[in-house]
């Protein structure tokens, strides 16, 4: 990695006074590094950094499709925070959605990873199948869930109505996507389905890095399985868990596909997240300014998580060195 002594040594060795060595003294020995970065920098500045500031500009303007826009200050933010009840609901939905999704993904992902670690035969089959939801196209697999949750064709309703022991209770048929509470539960459910593999893979890798001799020592001391999990696995897994929880929170907060396919934010706007609501404003209603303002609410949360993450990732790498 970069270290100051290296830079100085290289400078001392180079002949003095030439223009090139002057540049090297200022920018380090490998000036061509900037050249390697150049294509990436061009793409990122023109298609990420510039659009980001454009979004900020939109959010403080009265931008509308096909019309010249002018500065209006914080009007858009004030409007969505004070007069737009749906937006307040969207904030609440997003928090609810992210919280329950992540909680279930951690718990189910951890248990599944622990089980997968213990098996020896058919390892590839089991791993391969539980990881499948992660690689398949979300929009298409969510359409599969859409059929499973459809009020008329629902497989769940069919089971409730036609198989023992459910027939005894007379449950259903439920309109999973038509009732606000059930719809929210459904989108969280599908998000969990889609997100568990990420947790399984990363937790499995974390489990592999725990030294075996700790368990052997615990076994000699007569520790139970639960005790070993609580006193060895969980503490040593904590850094990995913290990182993937933050990662998953970012991706869950920005979720679009599942909501768009299953409910489009309905019924009665009860499942809108920032992404789908921003889509509704910016694309469907052509209110670019309000759409950008809604999406920007993600930004403070994002910054907070990135700061946390950077600290942890940094600490990890310094550990390695």
């Amino acid at each position: 990695m970069v270290s100051v002594p290296n830079v100085e040594r290289a400078v001392a060795a180079s002949p003095p006074a030439s223009r090139r060595s002057e540049l090297r003294r200022r920018f380090g020995p490998d000036i061509d590094g900037y050249g390697f970065l150049l294509p990436a920098i061009i793409v990122m500045i023109s298609l990420v950094v510039y659009p980001f500031f454009l979004a900020v500009w939109f959010s403080v303007s009265d931008a509308f499709v096909g019309e010249p826009s002018s500065y209006v200050g914080l009007e858009n933010f004030i409007y969505i925070l004070t007069e737009d009840d749906i937006f307040l609901m969207t904030i609440w939905n997003t928090l609810l959605f992210a919280f329950w999704s992540v909680v279930f993904k951690v718990v189910l992902g951890l248990t599944c990873a622990l089980l997968l670690q213990r098996i020896l035969k058919l390892k590839r089959f089991f791993r391969g199948s539980v990881l499948l939801p992660f690689v398949a196209p979300t929009a298409l697999t969510t359409l599969g869930w859409w059929l499973i949750l459809d009020p008329t064709y629902s497989h769940i309703n069919w089971i409730l109505a036609n198989t023992w022991p459910f027939t005894m209770f007379g449950l259903g048929p439920y309109n999973f996507l038509g009732n606000p509470t059930l719809a929210m539960a459904s989108v969280i459910f599908v998000n969990i389905w889609r997100g568990i593999p990420f947790f399984i893979i990363t937790i499995l890798a974390g489990l592999m890095s725990i030294p075996e001799h700790l368990y052997d020592a615990a076994e000699i001391d007569g520790a139970s399985t639960w005790r070993k999990f609580r006193s060895i696995t969980l503490p040593l897994l904590r850094p990995v868990l913290a990182i993937i929880i933050l990662f998953s929170t970012i991706f869950t907060l920005g979720e679009f596909n599942i909501i768009y396919v299953l409910t489009r934010g309905g019924p009665m706007n009860s499942t809108h997240l920032f992404s789908t609501y921003s889509f509704t404003y910016g694309i469907l209603n052509h209110e670019i300014a309000l759409g950008a303002a809604v999406a920007l609410f993600l930004f403070p949360i994002l910054v907070l998580i990135v700061v946390f993450l950077l600290r942890m990732v940094r600490r990890d790498t310094s550990h390695e060195l």
């Binding site: 298409l140 990420f198 889509f279």
Partner: protein, 311 residues
């Protein structure tokens, strides 16, 4: 189910010499241990069932006739025969194979080539070269990796319209080839940075001594050693661009320019009567290429995800 208990608990098996002089491996694994191992498999079954359920439903629905699908007293979990009508319908009456599949393929290949090339160069510089601001660039890559598409899709429409004044990319899949690298380059860079750091510097120094230029060393020495990492970057680029929805939904209205995900969602769902058979057939076929790639290269996927997230 039977398990090789010898490998399960290696230390508790003892090698004895039997009465006939041959070595006999006597199993000392207690019954409760074997039961416990079986319990692990049984506990995993719900997960497997849960993970595969929608894929199964997609497939089984796609091979039923409309009549069978709509007969609600039938079990929805079985098909009585194999009907190909929905697949035929997709091929003859929709743009699924002619346009959407082809477009997705073109976009995926182009975007993967662009992102992996640019990302590899950037990752090499960030992992190896010493110049001012290298740490800052590393952090910038990390931050752009985490910026969600939700924040960018509205302003990107404006960017695309601006570019369209010079090069006609609006409402074509070229707009996707342009924008997908925004989320792939940071990912590839981040992934390969970790990978390049694991390759010893000495091999590169040898290459320089043998007269290689910087690019020569990169292509002849470093990249061949980083093939697993690069494979993983390629696979992830393929998966992420094949699966993308938001940008293609927002940027493309022309039916002949759509990708699979958007085409299926916007063109196959019409009105209130859903054509479940053809819809599920489309979902199934759209997922198959990725699932096949994944089947062949599963280990790269898992190693990459771990490296991308943790390292």
């Amino acid at each position: 189910m039977s398990f090789s208990t010898a490998t399960l608990t290696g230390s508790s098996t003892a090698t004895l010499t039997g009465s006939d002089g041959r070595e006999v491996v006597r199993n000392k694994v207690p019954v409760w241990r074997r039961r416990k191992a079986a319990a692990n498999y049984i506990a995993l079954l719900p997960y497997v069932f849960f993970a595969l359920f929608p894929f199964y439903i997609m497939f089984i629905t796609s091979i039923k006739t409309d009549q069978e699908i709509n007969n609600l007293s039938n079990s929805p979990f079985w098909a009585t025969g194999i009907a190909t009508e929905h697949y035929v319908y997709l091929a003859t009456n929709t743009g699924f194979f002619n346009h959407w599949f082809v477009n997705t393929l073109i976009v995926t290949v182009a975007v993967t080539v662009i992102s992996v090339s640019i990302g590899t160069l950037a990752a090499y510089a960030l992992a190896r070269l010493r110049f001012r601001g290298v740490e800052l660039f590393g952090v910038a890559v990390f931050i752009t990796y985490l910026i969600p598409q939700t924040l960018l899709f509205i302003p990107l429409i404006d960017v695309i319209n601006t570019i369209d004044d010079y090069v006609p990319i609006r409402d074509t899949y070229w707009s996707l080839i342009l924008t997908y690298p925004t989320f792939l380059i940071p990912f590839v860079t981040w992934l390969l940075m970790g990978y390049f750091k694991t390759i010893p510097v000495e091999v590169e120094e040898c290459a320089y001594l043998d007269g290689c230029s910087r690019l020569g060393a990169l292509f002849r020495v470093v990249l061949p050693m980083a093939i697993p990492g690069i494979m993983c970057a390629i696979l992830f680029s393929i998966t992420l661009s094949w699966n993308e929805l938001l940008y293609s939904l927002v940027f493309i209205q022309d039916e002949t320019q759509k990708t699979i995900s958007v085409g299926v969602i916007t063109e196959l769902i019409r009105g209130d009567i859903y054509y479940w058979g053809s819809l599920m057939a489309a979902c199934f076929i759209g997922a198959v290429p990725i699932i096949m790639i994944y089947g062949f290269f599963m280990d790269y996927f898992t190693s990459g995800l771990t490296a991308g997230a943790i390292k």
